[in-house]
Symmetry: C2
Amino acid sequence: MTETTNPQVLLARRPAGEPVPEDFRLAEAPVPVPGPGEVLVRNRFLSLDPYMRGRMNEAKSYAPPVAIGAVMGGRCVGQVVSSAVEGFAPGQWVAGGEGWQHFSAVPAAALRLLDPDAAPPSAFLGVLGMPGTTAWVGTTEIAPVKPGETFVVSAASGAVGSVAGQIAREMGARVVGIAGGAAKCAFVTAELGFDACLDHRAPGFPEALAAACPDGVDVYFENVGGAVQRAVWPLLNPFARVAVCGLVSEYSAEPPPPGPNLREMMGKRLTLRGFIVGDHPRAAAEWRDTGARWLRDGRLKYREDVVHGLSRAPEAFLGLLAGRNFGKLVVALD
Amino acid sequence: MTETTNPQVLLARRPAGEPVPEDFRLAEAPVPVPGPGEVLVRNRFLSLDPYMRGRMNEAKSYAPPVAIGAVMGGRCVGQVVSSAVEGFAPGQWVAGGEGWQHFSAVPAAALRLLDPDAAPPSAFLGVLGMPGTTAWVGTTEIAPVKPGETFVVSAASGAVGSVAGQIAREMGARVVGIAGGAAKCAFVTAELGFDACLDHRAPGFPEALAAACPDGVDVYFENVGGAVQRAVWPLLNPFARVAVCGLVSEYSAEPPPPGPNLREMMGKRLTLRGFIVGDHPRAAAEWRDTGARWLRDGRLKYREDVVHGLSRAPEAFLGLLAGRNFGKLVVALD
């Protein structure tokens, strides 16, 4: 059956604090007509990621905000519907679809054919995609960890954290995760093979974290901020490195909550670095090769949280900000 | 006239918040008798530096605290009184004297003969000593600045800041200082040759700083923290680097005041690094050579604030914490 319209999710208005469902609007547009050099793609999986919260704001950031009434931005994998461009044939799986919508007309140069032998297509949105590459950049370039050091990562069962911890383990570190709830923590230790995982919602979390890091913390891969950050901070060792990758617990707080006092930065000679994966263009291919190999070898595990149907994307995204997803959140665009 | 006692300043008690004169105590000890391999030094100049505030606390730091009743620690330059060690003769000027006191018995290995042609002896406590080396490490290793970038330094007329700004200028940066009061600012621009200097005590300081940095801030050399830090933060450019060298306005605050929110660290990909000059052992000689050459060439200027008499050291140190000194603070041990 030929699909005759392009369902979309638009940004209806800018959120005031925590986003709510009314900030989004479902719409239908005509299926786009590809221009010269473009390929029509039927998106099959849409990636939902915390960075999208920032794009909903007016404030200038490293990327322009989504305009009111525009399609929410996001990475998709999908299949070629029609193509006048050599090298792309109907049915092929590609990365490079864009937006919370079923169809994208994409310049061929922005598309990449997926390797069906490496992993299922949706994995290129998570473990082998932008989140996995983010973990790779953070652990190898931004805050490198040495064998025997203690590596702590928050949102440890999430798309980035789960990969970051496994890379650190492969680099010889002792790896301690922080996640929300007993089920996630059990997954992180039993399935991902972290040395320990602490539930930040459990009473006595700061003490439990300290007990799990008897030699202190050498690298902290920061995904959440807030109370979790405050628990990690006193445990940082001299010369510790902090990769500031995300602060998902703080994105909707206005004014921004205070950060850590910098006094300890001197005594402990800390290095804090914020980073964005897009600044490291060679890392994506590098990680795809490495990650695909580790997947084949069984050294790298991942878990997806798949929501079915574009109309459920807003609700799923709100759940992501609240930590209700369990694994890499993707929307199957059935 | 032979001096028969060793005047000293002891730590009388640990400060509660801001130190007060009663936290110190004047005392007299016998002139120390040098042991085997030691040299007796009559200290002539004592360096007073903000890091000493940290040593007055109980809290563990990178260096052990001064014990109650012990001599306050500090670097001195002075003259050899007596020596059984080859290479040291009475009257020679040396660096390596230790403590708020007139006499030190120092292992010869910890002494360094001063080059009387390079600069006056007291300069080896400031522009060519630990503060100058700190500026060198901060600007060349911790937060390197590139030609054409904007470099901002707080406490710009002080021992470290004045050198940091001049090094940055030599590296081709546009240099903006921040200092307390019009006289210091005038010195910083007219004598040190900074492009601009802002008085953080003047009304409208944040706006004036922004106006003085029309292209934003690429490197911030942080010496003070607090309100000055809050004014600089919004001006930081993407990929800006912050060398956290000192936070003199915050040392006595308990609990430590909040630091900057880390949200901007990601969008702006900031790098913050705390550092301690002692971790860079080769930098001291490197900077002594470079700094001495620049002094001879007239490219490097410095100013000393000399207080006469050991008994005035506590009062002078309290003034340093409050920004009442003007230039590198040294005590002439007359």
